[in-house]
């Protein structure tokens, strides 16, 4: 018999969490962010995502993307506020902070102004909306940092596997193309001319692209001889049908999510569309999976920590969604006149704590691999054998 303590220890042994779990968790948080403009909630959401990233990211190169995403969000926020101050005439409000010289615009440009009075209400409105965007970006950045996008592609449903492999190969190819370009540029130096200008570009691009074309043919030949897209005994029409089913289902899910999250033109159709899309895609995947002879090497396991992570995300999103309906004033303060200090309903605070819980509920990532990718030397030299 294993004691509960031992079982917990085994669950928390270092390993990489299923990438799908991280993406579901992050998407749930992003959904929550789209439902509120409360700056405190949004900032706490970013903080929750940040805590989890700090605790559970691996040493891989993509794990630094969280900061990049947050910075991109901050830039967007700044741009948005500048626009609100200078151009857009969106929020009403009487608290004039400063009056800039106004440029007269023709009447048909109603709703747009250049300069003029800058109101506190207008700025705050822009700030809240910008923060919302920043929070969504931070959630996507967290998913990116926590889960290798390539590993996620590896676990796509069987019916879409061929597309998945094509994408993986493309993702691997881009960095190789960069390496080739560096090598060719170095070689061009050897001909006595520093590659610069349009002709330098042609001198680099022609060998790189030609080489790329030749090696993609080699790759296709290698994949063919290794059995890629081996159909087994599955008829072609059946494979195409299941692939189409999965694709159609996923498109349905995407449109439904857009409706749900955007809250725009088709909020009512959102939930049913998502449900129908999931059902169609699952049917396709299951049908294809049953007939497929392909197997998977060391698939990422899906166990308790994965469920816990997804559960935390979904629970936090559900609470925020309910709170938005229950306390609209507190949860959506953007555009309110006069300005008030934002409040934070207690259940929402609790939900945000839950959102950060995967930082301790999941197993830590394994120790860094001994050798990480090192910068490419101009002349390729292998690592010591």
């Amino acid at each position: 018999m294993t004691s509960p303590a031992q079982r917990v220890q085994r669950l928390l042994e270092p390993r990489l969490l299923h990438p799908g779990a991280w993406w579901l968790w992050a998407l749930a948080l992003a959904a929550a962010a789209t439902r509120t403009t409360n700056p405190v909630v949004l900032l706490l959401l970013v903080a929750a995502a940040g805590v989890v990233v700090a605790a559970r990211r691996s040493t891989a190169p993509w794990s630094r993307s969280f900061v990049a995403f947050v910075l991109a969000g901050a830039v967007l926020l700044a741009v948005r506020m500048a626009f609100a101050a200078l151009v857009m005439d969106t929020a009403p409000g009487g608290t004039v902070l400063v009056t800039l010289p106004e440029v007269g615009l023709p009447a048909w440009l109603a709703g747009v102004r250049l300069g003029g009075a800058v109101t506190a209400e207008g700025l705050v409105f822009a700030l809240y909306q910008g923060l919302q965007l920043l929070a969504v970006l931070a959630c996507v950045g967290a998913a990116n940092a926590l889960a290798d996008p390539r590993r996620l592609l590896r676990s796509v449903p069987g019916a879409l596997y061929e597309v998945g492999v094509a994408l993986v190969v493309a993702l691997t190819y881009a960095p190789r193309l960069v390496e080739d370009a560096l090598r060719v540029r170095a070689a061009q130096r050897l001909r006595g001319r520093a590659p610069s200008g349009l002709r330098g570009l042609a001198r680099t691009a022609v060998p790189v692209l030609e080489g790329g074309l030749a090696s993609s043919l080699d790759l296709a030949a290698a994949m063919d001889s290794r059995g890629f897209a081996r159909a087994g005994d599955v008829p072609v029409r059946f494979r195409r049908a299941t692939g189409l089913l999965v694709l159609a289902g996923l498109v349905g899910v995407a449109i439904g999510l857009f409706g749900l999250l955007g809250g725009g033109t088709l909020p009512a159709a959102g939930a049913p569309l998502v449900a129908a899309g999931v059902a169609v895609a699952l049917t396709g995947a299951l049908l294809a999976g049953r007939r497929s002879r392909r197997t998977r090497y060391r698939p990422d396991p899906w166990s308790l920590p994965e469920w816990a992570t997804v559960g935390c995300g979904v629970a936090a999103a559900a609470v925020v969604l309910l709170a938005a309906a229950r306390w609209p004033a507190a949860m959506d303060p953007a555009g309110r006149v006069p300005l008030v200090l934002p409040e934070l309903p207690l259940p929402v605070l609790a939900a945000l704590l839950v959102a950060a819980a995967p930082a301790v509920l999941t197993p830590p990532p394994p120790l860094p691999a001994a050798a990480l990718r090192r910068p490419t030397p101009a002349v390729p030299a292998g690592a010591p054998a």
Binding site: Q188, R191, A194, R294
Partner: protein, 546 residues
């Protein structure tokens, strides 16, 4: 296991068939070696075995190719994936996954092998090929030899009954090549695997072969036991050439067999070629052997690292005119880095590089090419024009030389290369000579070549040897980074061996090569303790004796 019955293969737009009415039988559990000059149809033959020709490449195939009872006419390469494993010439071009383990499993996933079996086979293959420590390494960080082993492993995990390899050792150092070949031989002996290998470096493979297929050009083919074929084969390793010289019948194929016959030869010969006997090594690592002209380049205390990995440590070297220096050492020992430092492509951490009074890092490329020129590992990197003639014209302009200089140089190095051809359509050897002409037109005093013999057949190599000799005779300094000990034995006057970025040996070729079991050429091994390196040396000495 493999049966070709009156097979002809004609590519679209080709004037003559690549293979013409050839028949061949490779029984199960045999190691079959395919030899022949570039362009004789080796790759076509190999790719016909798993159906890539004509399913993937196009072209017309008449006759039948059957593998394990399956006709390639009715089976596409992917349908043969469980019977035939193919390892392409450039292993990294076929990599699909991003880490070693996933790469090994890729083929098995498509064959529908049970996960538990996959797991076991991956572990077995990691052990068999010595890849266990690399299992989670990204493929891009591996050295050439490691990549080759991963590619072989990826083909092996599917447990094919036939393994087809296109020049598996051309990028490997002698030790790495021996490892790969030993692994292959184990597979043939223990598992009854049928192996088909195309290889230019016969000295590495021929003693393991059960059958040799010689492609003689014009789509013809000749097959037989190694001894039979080697007796009259146009392409032969040094051991066979020595046997022909000494008149041994049948020719021995391995160093071991040849040593037993060598007793007849030794009494006829002096103890070594005159220069090796007279010139003992001078002391000190930087002491250059004869002939030593003026110093062309000096490297002092050179240190270089990529991230945490040191590539060069405290390298001191003087390069002189009239010398052919061979830079040897295992894959990743720092050879390319040293060449890169000499032309200013990589920045050293500390130390000094002085090439004819210039610092390569701080010199304009236009000026530097007059002092030092490098032919990189992939000569095609230097070329970008759409025809050989345009390439030559561009090179004249780049080097500021009168029009026609490069074309004249090329006409001397490789007179048969047509000016209208696209550089990509040239053979490996012709492309190398074109790149060499492009580099030489700037008249650099120092000429560097990185792995020049990769993919070259014996004829192209012979041409390269005479070109390099001529360069050294004209007062150029030549540096070769290479794994090809036979080439080094023929052309080098001085050998420097690098290990982990340090110079571990530096001296006259005879001395360094003969003293090291890994780097000794076949003739040196056969005639040891006498100091002979190459067949031409022995031939010249025999003529002198009469």
């Amino acid at each position: 296991m493999i049966r070709l019955d009156r097979v002809s293969i004609t590519y679209p737009d080709a004037a003559a068939p690549a293979l013409d009415e050839v028949s061949l039988l490779v029984p199960e559990g045999e190691l079959c070696l395919v030899v022949g000059p570039t362009g004789a149809g080796k790759s076509t033959l190999l790719r016909a075995v798993n159906g890539l020709v004509p399913h993937f490449t196009g072209g017309t195939l008449t006759g039948t190719v059957t593998v394990a009872g399956r006709d390639t006419r009715a089976h596409r390469p992917r349908d043969l994936a469980d019977v035939v494993g193919l390892v392409a010439q450039d292993p990294s071009s076929g990599f699909v996954a991003d880490v070693v383990e996933d790469e090994l499993a890729f083929g098995m996933e498509w064959l529908g092998i049970a996960p538990t079996v996959m797991r076991r086979r991956v572990e077995e293959t990691l052990d068999l090929l010595g890849l266990a420590e690399l299992r989670s390494r990204p493929l891009g960080t591996l050295s050439g030899g490691q990549r080759q082993r991963v590619a072989i492993g990826a083909a092996l995990t599917a447990h094919p009954r036939v393994l087809v390899l296109d020049e598996p050792t051309s990028a490997l150092d002698p030790q790495g090549a021996e490892d790969v070949l030993a692994a292959l031989q184990r597979l043939v002996h223990d598992l009854g695997l049928t192996v088909v290998i195309a290889e230019h470096r016969l000295e590495r493979v021929v003693q393991y072969a059960d059958q040799v297929v010689e492609l003689t050009g014009q789509g013809r083919l000749r097959s037989g036991t190694p001894a039979q074929v080697m007796q009259s084969c146009a392409i032969a390793p040094p051991v066979v050439e020595l046997a022909r010289l000494a008149g041994w019948q049948p020719p021995p194929l391995s160093v071991r067999d040849a040593r037993r016959r060598a007793d007849e030869l030794r009494p006829l010969l002096p103890a070594g070629p005159p220069e090796a006997v007279e010139g003992p090594a001078e002391a000190g690592p930087t002491a250059g052997p004869t002939p030593s002209g003026p110093v062309l380049a000096t490297v002092r205390d050179l240190r270089l690292r990529y991230g945490p990995v040191p590539a060069l440590r405290d390298v001191d070297l003087q390069l002189r005119s009239g010398q052919v220096l061979a830079l040897m050492g295992r894959n990743g020992a720092g050879k390319s880095s040293l060449l890169g430092a000499l032309v200013g492509l990589v920045r050293p951490q500390t130390g000094e590089v002085d090439v004819g009074g210039l610092d390569p890092r701080r010199t304009e490329p236009q000026t530097l090419v007059r002092a030092v020129g490098l032919v990189p590992q992939q000569p095609a990197d230097l070329l970008y024009a759409t025809s050989v003639a345009a390439e030559c014209a561009q090179a004249d302009a780049d080097a500021g030389r009168p029009a026609g200089s490069t074309a004249a140089l090329l006409a001397r190095l490789a007179p048969e290369v047509p000016g209208a051809a696209h550089p990509r359509d040239l053979s490996e050897g012709q492309r190398l000579l074109l790149a060499l002409a492009v580099v030489l037109v700037a008249r650099p005093r120092l000429v560097l070549l990185d792995e020049p013999t990769r993919g070259l057949d014996y004829e192209a190599k012979r041409r390269l040897v005479s070109v390099l000799r001529e360069l050294a005779g004209a007062g150029h300094g030549v540096v070769l980074a290479t794994h090809d000990v036979e080439l080094v034995a023929e052309v080098a006057t001085r050998v420097v061996i690098l290990a982990e970025g340090e110079v571990v040996a530096d001296g006259p070729a005879e001395e360094v090569l003969a003293g090291s079991p890994a780097f000794a050429p076949q003739v040196a091994k056969i005639l040891a303790p006498d100091r002979w390196l190459s067949v031409p040396q022995v031939a010249a000495a025999l003529e002198l004796v009469g």
